[in-house]
Every structure is written in structure tokens, then in C-alpha cells.
Amino acid sequence: MLDTVQEDTMHVLVIEDDIEMASFIEKVLVEAGHRVDMATDGDKGLAMARASEFDALVVDRMLPEKDGLTLVKEYREAGGKTPTLFLSALGDVQNRVQGLKVGADDYLAKPFAPAELAARVEALGRRLPVEQQITVLKAGDLEMNLLTRKVTRAGQKIDLQPREFRLLEYLMRHAGQVVTRTMLLEKVWDYNFDPQTNVIDVHISRLRAKIDKEFEEPLLHTVRGAGYRLQG
């Protein structure tokens, strides 16, 4: 059902005390093709995160023994580099900012759709190291030069509005992954609120008209019930 790419498996540590929620997260991630380890309190979670190499951490904000914020803070202070996603029932902007401040890479408010969780964990795994400077992004025969801001498909030039450029850039950086509408709002528009009207869909369909219309093979796919995926 979840149309995610399963080519490379991630090893994910989930630190969550609510058994039902934990097994739900585990199920979603296993279905997405990942290996999952579980910890049910903050102390154990921190010990496990330090003991072995994970590809991603999924941490609940409210945990027994050691709350999520402290856990991530201590983990980062001790030099832990693994990308981290916060899960929390506290979805306000302040809480979000707090979470990102202590060193988390992303923040997802409960309740969330399984596709959203899968997409965000996937995005963490593919996060490109900051040091690595990339000037040209590629997806199939689509090319984007970040310096000249030129976009071509099969050598044919495509004109994009600034926002469309940013939208496509985000999609290309996460090519092959499912990207949800909320992720686009947060990362491309920097909005932490819900504009309600299907604004994102419309922007995507405009972008699609520019990059896919005149070509045989479509690159930008809608993933039902989840979001969008740019074919890698």
C-alpha cells in the first residue's frame, strides 16, 4: 500500500514508551522495509543509541526515566550524529522549535499518518551531509543546476518560478522518496500551519505541467493517501 522504495534498508531505533504506539511505529517502518530496534524508556534508549550505529532515531518527547529533549541533547553533546526525528503529542511551534534546537532533525506531531512517518524517516536517511557541496541535482533525465539556477529535461530548458524552483529542488533532493504535503509546506514554504485549501496539490500540478507534460515518461507521481514522489 505504501508506495515507498525499498531498495536500501535503514536500521532505525524507536524510543517510545507507549506499547501500542511503539508497535504501530514498528509495523509502519518494517512495512517500509526498515529494520527496527525498540527501547521503552529514555535511559535504555540513550544507551542503545550510543552502543550501536543506527541510520535514524525516532524519539518520543515524553518518556519515563529521561524525557526525549534531554535524551537528544545528551546524545548530541556526546557527539552522536545519527539523524533524529521527534514524535510528540505537543505539536505547537514552540515545542517544535525546542525540539529542533536541542539537535533533532525533524519533528512530527501525533497523531500522524503512517505515510507521513515513513516519508519523514526515509528523508532522514537520505539527508545529505551538509559539508558535501552539490551543484547539480539529477533525477532521470531531469537536471537542476543550483548555481546557474537552470533546469533542463533531456537537454530541453524548463522555465520555473522561484517557488517552483524551490519545490522541485526539494523533490529532487529527495528523489525516489515519498514527500508529504506537510513536509512540502514546512520545508519549501516554511509554514507551520495548515492552509487547508488544496494549495499544494495545485502547485504540484503546475510543476508537473512544466516538467512532465511534453515528455513520454512522467517523473512526478502522486502517491495516494501520502503525497508525491519524484522518480529517481
Binding site: W189, D194, V202
Partner: protein
Amino acid sequence: MRLALPTFLKTTTFKLALIYSAMFAAFSAALLVYLYYSTVYYIRAESERRLDLEFEQLGNAYFTGGMERLSQSVLERMTRTGSTYFYYLEDSSGRKIAGHFGRMPTTPPTADVQTVYFEFRQQEPDGTEILRPAAGRIVRLRDNGGALLVAFDTEQQTAIVGRIQRAIFIAAPIGLVLSLLGGILISRGAARRADELARTAEAVMGGELGRRAPVRGSGDEFDRLASRLNAMLDQIEKLVDSTRHTGNAIAHDLRSPLSRLRNRLEIALSEPMSRESAEATLEETVEEVDRVLGTFNAILRLARLEAGAEGERVRMDVSELGEELAELFDPACEEAGLSFKSQISRNLTILADRDLVGQALSNLLDNAVKYTPEGGAITFSITRGPNGTVDMTVVDSGPGVPEEARERVVQRFQRMDSARTHPGSGLGLALVDSVADMHGGELLLSDAGGPPDMPGLKATLRLPRV
């Protein structure tokens, strides 16, 4: 009130009253002591001065006319009416020449000039004799050996001093008692007003939410406290009412989707279904649950907003946000067959939470897109408003909101009946209103000036500019 005494004895005001009366007493005592001594000193000095004057005049008589002139002068003075002085003049052998007394009323002095105190007998009109105190000075006459006494009755002086003393002894305790009484009265007044406030608080705690503390209009601290307390109670009452209303509304609004859910699941359970239709049912169910969760999130957000827990205000360029939102909504309008125009003035800044204002404006735009029929028009403008404000206005060509319903539609879960067919939680305008409130602004709704059957809605979020 039987317990009033121990209560007011404990009050700060009473303690202050006590301190004040102690200070008052100390000050009064110092004042009275000063008054007493300065009066006595003044009386003494005055008598001395007048004695000096007498001796000077009599001395002049002696120097110009000798003993004869002096005795004449003494006799003159003795007969002068209203004189308060006693005289006695003797010669060198101690013989009386003139004077009030039969002989020198006190032992003759050893020095040339000597101050003397003595008592003398005086015949009263009724024949009795009394002893009277006197004070004066004896001066030995030069070249002659005689002596002159000038004295005055000290009874009067003693009487004045005595009267002052009496006045002090009477006034001091009376003043002390009065100041204490005053303190007690003041503190009882304060205690009573504090009691009134306490009783109001108790009544409110007891469930009488409409109860307010009495304000006397005197403008004193207690009045100010009472009116602040009342303002707080107004706010609490409003919040409680709104919570109550929300509770009812949640129950009402969530009952229908939840019952639909239940029915759907019930049917799914009872009927044998193909895999596809089972999946479809489940997907619909998930969508329904998502809507319910969405409503819950909106309620939580609104509640937190109203409790003042959310929002971090920063100076932000609202024109920039407006441009972005216009760009965001423009394609969606086009898709819905609506023409979209935006008119954003540059460089308008407000002190606000960007996400909240963004959400509020999105809600207005979303409403416009939802309710305007195909072929209609939406205008989004951000302009300078009156009195240092920014007007963020969304105008649509939809059915509008009749005047009598405008106050209602900004309340939670209040949707016009015509709106119930559209998706939405009924919290959109309530959130805009809360955001306006929180930023010290307002939400204004009016007709957009279209034809009577489609007047359109003009919704303006007006916030203070910085």
C-alpha cells in the same frame, strides 16, 4: 463580626495604625516638653527683663535726686493702679523708708545685687491672711548703704505653668487614645473591605460565577483591586462560558461523524464484502477519523490560543507573508474557477506570531475559496488601516453572511446552516477572531457590495502596525 477583633488585630493596617499612634505619641510628647520648657523660660526671662526696667527707672531717680527722689518714686509706683510689683526701701541702718512690707521680707543680701525668693503674708478682703510666694531682686544702694527690693507675685507664673502642665497631662492620654481609636477604625474599615473581597472570592468559588466585588467609586486601592478582580472574573466567566459552549458544541459536532463511523463499521462487520469494497470502506473510515482528529487539533489549538499559551511575537513584514499567501492561493483559485486578485502594500510590519497570522489569513482565504461559486472573484489586499493599523482583507463574491448572523459565525462551531454542506470544522473564523484578540486587533465582517442575492463577504483582520 464577632470574630472581627482577632481578625483586625492581625491585619497589616492595624499594625501600621499602632506604629502611627506610637509615633504620634512620641512626637506629641517632644512637642509638649518643648512647649513647656520654652514657656517657663519665656516667663522667667520676661520677669527678669521687667525687673531690669524697674531698677533702671528707680536707679535714674536715685542718681538724679538721691534718696529723697527715690523714696518718692517708690511711693508713686506703689500707688499706681494695676501695678503688680512690691517694693521695699530701707536706709543703711536698716530702717524702712517706704514699701509694702513692715520690714525687709527676707534676709538682707550679702552681695550688691541678689535675686531672692520669699513668701509674705497678705491680708485678704475677708480678713484672713494667706502666704503668697514672691520673687524679686535686692540691690544695695551705692554711697548710701541702703537697699531696694523690687519683687513680684509668682502666684500667677506658677498658675500658668501649672495650667500648662495640667493641659499636657490631660491632652497626652486623650491624644494617645484618639490616635489608637483612629488606627483601629481605619484598620477595621480596611479589614471589612478585604472581607468583602474574600467573600466575593468565596462566592465565586462556590459556583456563583456572576458575583462581583463591590466598587465604591472612591478610587482607592481597594476600589482598584476590586475592579481588577471584577475584570478578572469577567474574563474567567467568559472563558468558562466558552468552554461550556465548546463542550456542548464538540459533543454535538463530533456525534455525527462518530455515528457515521460506527454505522459504517457495523455494516462492514455484518455484510460479507469483497476485498475491494472492504478496503474502500476502511479508507473512508480513515478519512472520517482524520477529519475528527483535525477538528480536535483545531479545538486544542484554539483553546491554547485563548489561554494565551501559544504564540511568540516577533516584528514581521506582513506584506511579505501576504505576497507568499497570494502566490500560494492564486493557482488554487484558478483551479476552482475563481478569479484572484491581490493588492499588497509594501513594508507593513506588525508585532505578531507569523504562523498564527498565516493560519488566520489562510482561514479567510480558504473560506472564500470554499464558499464562492464558480466564476466568482476573490480579492486579497493588505493595506494601511485607520489609526496605525494594518487591514488584511479578503473579499469574495459568495453568498456573504447576513448582518444578524455575523456575531454568531465567529463563535466556535457556529456555522450557518448553508455552510453545513461544506467541509470544515466551524472553527475557522473563531480562530481568526482569537488571533485578532490576542494581537490587540479585531475581525470585521461586512457585505462586499454585490447584488442582494450574492452580496459577498468582506472579512478584514485589522492588527496594530509597528
